[in-house]
Subunit: 498 residues, 2 copies
């Protein structure tokens, strides 16, 4: 690609999306068009995560897009948290009068296009739940949500985005807490094993909680510019939403109790995280688990030669590959028969991040072999008999899956500083830009003790640094706050973030 | 159920949805909450249809929820068609002043919540398409859409509904026409083979076309009350949208041409069609192809006996059933271990329409057999060894799939009158109510010649009867219009409709 990470990281990100043809900005400000390749990746993510959500006992439902304003007002912290980024529906009809648009049919109560569904789902829970026998209620929905976005960026922040939101209700606080942790672990496993992200799991400090939550847990993935990306969150909502919506159950003794609820979500941001974690200066690199195509064949067409036997060879090999398994599923194979130069086709698929690209020309055919390229080592052309390639495809896809994860883990390990003990060193570190981590002088994560006082973060505003979360794995000893020098019980992750 | 088709067909429909726990009305007027069982059915429909959409060469994309009003205005017929049922977003912020809700951040241009996406997708097509080499563009999206609904009914008509909308662009009118027909056939096959619907496929008369379309084709499924339900449509949009959005390509000779577009869609209405086609007075009956669970085990718990061996027996049989295949997929089996009376559980699953319900008690266990119930013949309890049941499960699911289709076909055949030749007989026929077809004196479809003049339909308004479509299979001879007595080239289907 023309733009490299070294040259301009921000532009490079846009360029990868363009080169891989994954998405583009739409005519509607802040919204995106997800193109087939980007959608293919999202559909893979969806399928894999949905399986896990169901395996852990959750059912999918669908709740309305619209939330009456009055419902939103019931939970005070919640409405405050979202009041400035709402899409509000006020009218139901349109009329053209003298070429001018006139809105008619004004609604008595405006409707909010859901920025999240806690309030509307709580209304259903209040009806569904009467007795302890009705609990737990474990549901999930895949939906679009809208939060007005002033500085949109494809996949990372868009006014409309796609997500899943889980919502559960439990008899006790302990069960709600266990649920929030279970789903956090589902996310962690999915994001590390399938997406190959490298992340730090922990609890958000109080001022970063989801509006209305008692505890918010997050997965903070490190990007190639050292910034954190919050790839998913899980909230123990306590009884706040239950009290606001009056979700009560009769316990075994016949007493009325409010339920304890949780919610947890991940979104199309994960596709942004995939790109910012794995792409390189040649374009996208996809973990095989989420690649819409894992192997693509490019038949080499020479003008004077007959293309028929070449494509037949490719189709035959493709068929045999589809009988192979990767992670228990049929290998996803494509034969690219478009009327386009082989070299351009090869580059199309490299830029799209296909794990294995195979070229077959008349000469290879004569030798009954093929030429394959590993997306993690594109400079090398590997020649071998088709049989061998078919036999080894699972092993190679596994190696690519692991290779991407290895690189991400290395990045996190190499760019998390745990040795910064005072404010001067802290400032010095974060004076460095957020820039490609391959470039010396870029800042990553800092893991350090923090006293927990929100006011102590004010001086960091010029650096753009925030507390990402309080990691679960903590040293046994308390320490000294890196910002204030006061005693501090816990370490936190400081970083710039998307 | 308390309410039967005979007693009150409309209430019966609501009762089935409640008994099967598929969906409910939401607090937001006109919108529904799709509950786990209803969502499970929709997800099955989605998966099967999505496979076919992809198999025929289409890719999934995602386009914005919002359409700027100005874009809508570009295609005159289109804006007129939807102007009265739009959800319009006008503001972006909310403020509470003295307990009153104040809207702020008024948008310069209101946004329409998509009632359909032709206009917004056309904008993308205009950018994507430059040359004949870029054609055809074949895409689909699964999305929610909003059309204000004054008389909502769960699944049949709701303000917000879920659907898929295919959108394609082609170099020639012939190709667009072929595409519209291909997708109509995909729908027909899917709806008859998987959903077991019985329907008549044909073209809509001009006044019933989709706003802006040149040709609209529909699939009109007959419901148990003799009404038609438009289960899907496919449109050849000609060059109207291409001209409005300026979607042009350079042909092989270098000349600029407008593309020809199509669109085609099906929605959660199909779930309504499933219910109104297959349910009976005991609740839902699901074709195995779309049943979230095809076999459910109910272990019979006796207070004095040990339940462990019974559930173990069920789990073991369930495991073996999952190794069996129906339509190439693993059989979907559930063991219901809820703390509830066995009889109540059995009825829960019968009402939900599970094809095969299996009961196992300690006595069955001793004999190493089980008791199974076929949802199409619930009065009969069948006893047999577990081995036999496992071996025969595919055959039995096939029989249920065919049985439901057979009943639907019978209904269509028995309630389509082709012998009505004049207006008096026509009126006489349709004076009959739309009511359960098992009840003598209910009207179904009438297939008769029609002159094609829209004005001739005015006298039918008191009957609530409309032209559903012009079936593809036509007699060779022209005839006499049943309404006007004028010469008529074609037969049409007259019916009441949802």
């Amino acid at each position: 690609m023309d733009i490299t990470r070294q040259k301009n990281y921000t532009d490079w990100y846009q360029e990868v999306i363009k080169a891989a043809d994954m998405a583009e900005n739409s005519i509607v400000r802040g919204c995106m068009v997800i193109k087939p390749w980007g959608m293919g990746v999202w559909e893979r993510l969806q399928r894999l995560l949905d399986d896990e959500i169901k395996r852990t006992g959750h059912d999918n439902c669908y709740f309305p897009l619209f939330v009456p304003v009055g419902l939103f007002l019931k939970e005070a912290a919640h409405v405050e948290g979202f009041a400035k980024e709402m899409a509000l529906v006020t009218h139901t009809r349109l009329k053209i009068v003298d070429g001018q648009v006139k809105l008619e049919g004004q609604l008595e109560e405006p409707l909010v296009v859901r920025p999240t569904s806690e309030t509307i789902i709580a209304e259903s829970f209040a009806q569904w739940i009467q007795s302890y026998r009705d609990l737990p209620v474990l549901i999930n929905q895949w939906a679009n949500v809208v939060r007005w976005e002033l500085r949109p960026r494809l996949f990372m922040r868009t006014t409309e985005f796609l997500w899943q939101e889980g919502h559960t209700a439990h008899a006790t606080g302990a069960e709600a807490q266990a649920e929030a942790m279970t789903m956090l672990e589902v996310y962690r496993t999915f994001m590390t094993e399938q997406l190959g992200l490298s992340l730090i799991v922990g609890e958000k400090p109080p001022h970063e909680r989801f509006p209305g939550a008692e505890h918010t847990y997050s997965l903070e993935a490190i990007m190639q510019d050292g910034k954190a990306l919050q790839a998913g969150t899980s909230h123990n909502l306590g009884q706040g939403f239950a009290k606001a919506a009056n979700i009560q159950y009769q316990d075994k003794e016949g007493a009325l109790q409010h339920v304890h609820t949780t919610s947890w979500g991940t979104s199309t941001r994960m596709v942004g995280a995939l790109i910012m974690t794995h792409a390189d200066d040649d374009g996208m690199r996809l973990p095989p688990a989420v690649a819409p195509a894992q192997v693509v064949f490019v038949p080499i067409i020479r003008e004077d030669a007959d293309i028929e036997p070449v494509t037949a060879f490719c189709e035959a090999a493709a068929k045999r590959l589809r009988d192979q398994r990767f992670q228990g599923e049929a290998v996803r194979v494509k034969v690219d028969t478009r009327d386009k130069k082989a070299q351009d086709k090869r580059w199309d698929w490299i830029k799209k991040g296909v794990p294995l690209v195979v070229e077959v020309g008349p000469r290879d055919l004569a030798k009954n072999e093929l030429c394959w390229i590993d997306r993690l080592a594109i400079a090398k052309k590997n020649f071998e008999p088709a049989d061998t390639f078919v036999e080894k495809v699972e092993e190679r896809l596994n190696a690519i899956q692991s290779g991407l994860k290895y690189a991400a883990d290395k990045m996190l390990a190499e760019h998390t500083r745990s040795d910064i003990k005072d404010y001067a060193a802290f400032r010095e570190h974060f004076k460095k830009k957020a820039d490609w981590l391959g470039k010396p002088g870029s800042a990553g994560y800092v893991r350090a003790y923090w006293c927990g006082e929100e006011e102590s973060l004010a001086p960091l505003s010029d650096l753009g640094v925030t507390v990402r979360n309080i990691p679960f794995d903590q040293p046994k000893e308390p320490g000294i706050c890196v910002l204030t020098g006061k005693p501090a019980a816990q370490q936190v992750i400081f970083a710039r973030a998307y």
